[in-house]
Subunit: 518 residues, 2 copies
Amino acid sequence: MEEVIAAIVAKGNEVRELKAKKQDVKAQVAELIALKKQYKELTGNEYQPPAAAPAPKATKEEPKKEGKSKNQLKKEKKLAEKAAPKETKPKQKQAKPGKPSVTARPEGGSAMPSDSDLLLRQAKYAHFTAINGDANAQKVTPWDVEAEGGVDYDKLIVTFGTSQLTKDLVTRIEKLTGVRAHRYLRRGYFFSHRELNEILDHYEKGNKFYLYTGRGPSSGSLHMGHLIPFTFTAWLQKVFNVPLVIQLTDDEKYLFKEQTLEQSEHMAMENAKDIIACGFDMKKTFIFRNSDYIGTMYPEILKIQKCVTYNQVRGIFGFTGSDNIGKSAFPAIQAAPSFPQCFPIPFHNRTDMRCLIPCAIDQDPYFRMTRDVAPRIGYAKPALILSKFFPALEGATTKMSSSGPSPTIYVSDTAEEVADKVRRYAFSGGGESKADQEKYGANLDVDIPYQYLTFLVEDDVELVTLAKEYGEGRMMSGQVKERLITVMNAFNADFQKKRAAVTDEQVRQFMTVRPLEF
Amino acid sequence: MEEVIAAIVAKGNEVRELKAKKQDVKAQVAELIALKKQYKELTGNEYQPPAAAPAPKATKEEPKKEGKSKNQLKKEKKLAEKAAPKETKPKQKQAKPGKPSVTARPEGGSAMPSDSDLLLRQAKYAHFTAINGDANAQKVTPWDVEAEGGVDYDKLIVTFGTSQLTKDLVTRIEKLTGVRAHRYLRRGYFFSHRELNEILDHYEKGNKFYLYTGRGPSSGSLHMGHLIPFTFTAWLQKVFNVPLVIQLTDDEKYLFKEQTLEQSEHMAMENAKDIIACGFDMKKTFIFRNSDYIGTMYPEILKIQKCVTYNQVRGIFGFTGSDNIGKSAFPAIQAAPSFPQCFPIPFHNRTDMRCLIPCAIDQDPYFRMTRDVAPRIGYAKPALILSKFFPALEGATTKMSSSGPSPTIYVSDTAEEVADKVRRYAFSGGGESKADQEKYGANLDVDIPYQYLTFLVEDDVELVTLAKEYGEGRMMSGQVKERLITVMNAFNADFQKKRAAVTDEQVRQFMTVRPLEF
């Protein structure tokens, strides 16, 4: 029945899409009528379109910023932020009272649109909120993150249809594991999820789940932003004591970027060393490169491919007819490891294991698609725990990226390189002059050195103190930058030591298909 | 340079396509201008579109039959054929003098459109010659063959851009191998090719080539039509003494048809037994199921996928947005075995081996695409030797198919089943009454029992005698059918004996990745 409804919604969208392009829709309309007839035969009732999801409305209630051209905004942004640093401050706070909080929506309750609805709704508008002068506009795809006024994560929760990761859920994790929550959870860096509560129910009953995360090898060394999901995943593995699979998508990077297959394969192996240095348990972790492991996953990939139309991936990922055919088929390859059927040897043929995927929210479109397909091929949906982006050095309008033009801090950087990059490029929210800073204090929302420190400093007291001192103008921007350089270099030095200790033999072992211990 | 030209032609087609749909083409026109500029920079000359290929013109010179609706034609066809059986006879003859013969085109000469041009031309119109009352219209795709007045193979050579397999080439094969040509060559059943002459040059110089053919497992047993390419391939393997790879596309049949993956995989194994019974040399033959062997081919599949756009496969294969994403990526999987890089172990890492593909002409679109991609990834183009279709029992308007609604003669059929099917369904070109047959004789062009005998009878004298006696009315339709039943049952009995002797262990050996002997 769900399939018929999904088909009706899809066909309706197709008709509207074609109409919008002024193309002939006779055949599609006939199919739509046939589907509605099928619905009536199955239910005895006429098909009624689902009530409009409340999500977009909530977004509209947010105060709109004055509409300006992209260029205008770019020019004015820095000045505006310097001149009136406090203006954007309330944004960092939790949802305001009086404004309907998106987290108030019942978890998985009947009012929630289904994944299938969301998949289709998404196809229409969600991932490409056009950037045309609206300062709230943002573009978040697996390949691109752009948001003029900084990413609005509350809005992403609404448009993507995910749930907020509430304090209660964090507390529940602490109770179940007996371990204090990771700083990324305490500080809301992992801020959203899909069915995390179900994974916790499952775990509470004594059942195991497994973790699945991945990496697209487009650089020889990971950067600071890449480490976040891996260090967090290592923590999850440790506190829940669960197995983990890590997909290296060398095929994806070859298909989507200007790099050879050999380069992609090589970078995947280099990245594996960085990943291993994050502290995974070898007995419980299987790292695989798609070009090595595709054969085992192929039956599951085919099942997923058969359930997803080209129109759907075009809608979800924005592919065009000029894109190569590997791109349109790839989403099924990233989807497949969400199902334990892909890992008969690592998981001892146990197909009852639920999957939890820690990743940044730009990967959500893949798994929204996966969750839509899962029940149609008789599998459980993967759950997700979603992070914000690690902001770029020059500011939070985009994520740190190793493929963009802007400077990136790699974990392989020397102390001098880190110091130079932070001093020269890290966007400051501090006053323009010493006097300004003393008078107005710093805007921590846009201050990159402060934000990086929130990722790296474990001590909550230090962080609160620094926020107060810097925010209220008693600390200078340069001092904060120096503090970041010290912390970051200590982190890098430690990481580089661990990385240097990873042997080729260890990489081989992590990447050998073998039964995991759990 | 070829790439720039191909890009210009492609972009031009894209613009025309969009214009036809009344869509905005500004961006595409800009790209087109940029490409033409690039051409000028490289050559110093303005870009000139290639001279219109002469092929379509030649087709138009053929006398057009009176336009009629599809239904009208269907009703009138049988009557017309019976009433005036001689009328269509000249069609069987070789190209008439006075009519420009398509075989007169120079082999690979400069006037020939490149594969790339053909690929793009094809994308526009060739594969869907609309069936709208034009008796010459025909639809030939890898999934469908439909031609109201019987398939016009001369026209296919023109629209597909292949070369005619001339008597001279057949004689050359005989000289090189020292063996009399196979009856399928003598009788023009293998009627067309791409660069077969180059393969023969290569062979003449003492170099090896390899054969590649395949099977899409959509039925548990092969039918008579399936055996043709396999028995011919076994002959080629023997007389040239070359290795062979056979692809079983269980993935394709799962993606394109209503059958489960398990069914596809199972039918592939059953089909392997039928194929082995055709008499392949185990030491020189590697049979593989895509679901087993995909991992080894994956790097080559990715390289091909990266070179082919969705627009191209949509144009070549007629995919729509509602088709699943596996379909659009599949052509790369059928293309890959054209390159020896897919078989490092079977071919001892020799990447200098040319590939010759024996197949029915409906598979040509796959390899036209493959040949377009080959030079872009630094590989040699595969050569092709192309057969006509084994006609369906009810007449030559379509090919025999195990998935259509019409009766099919399987190699597993009992003698009674064969007799019953031939007597009841085989379309006869004989007179309606004994008197008619004696007066007008039979129309051998449409007579299915006679045509089947041309496939099965080795003795040229018997066949010529039968054609004369039956064609001139001294033999009755029933007698020819009985002769076919005898011949077919002898063939089937022999085949079934060989098939029964194929052990699971033999299948396992044929399907084991191992070095082939050559």
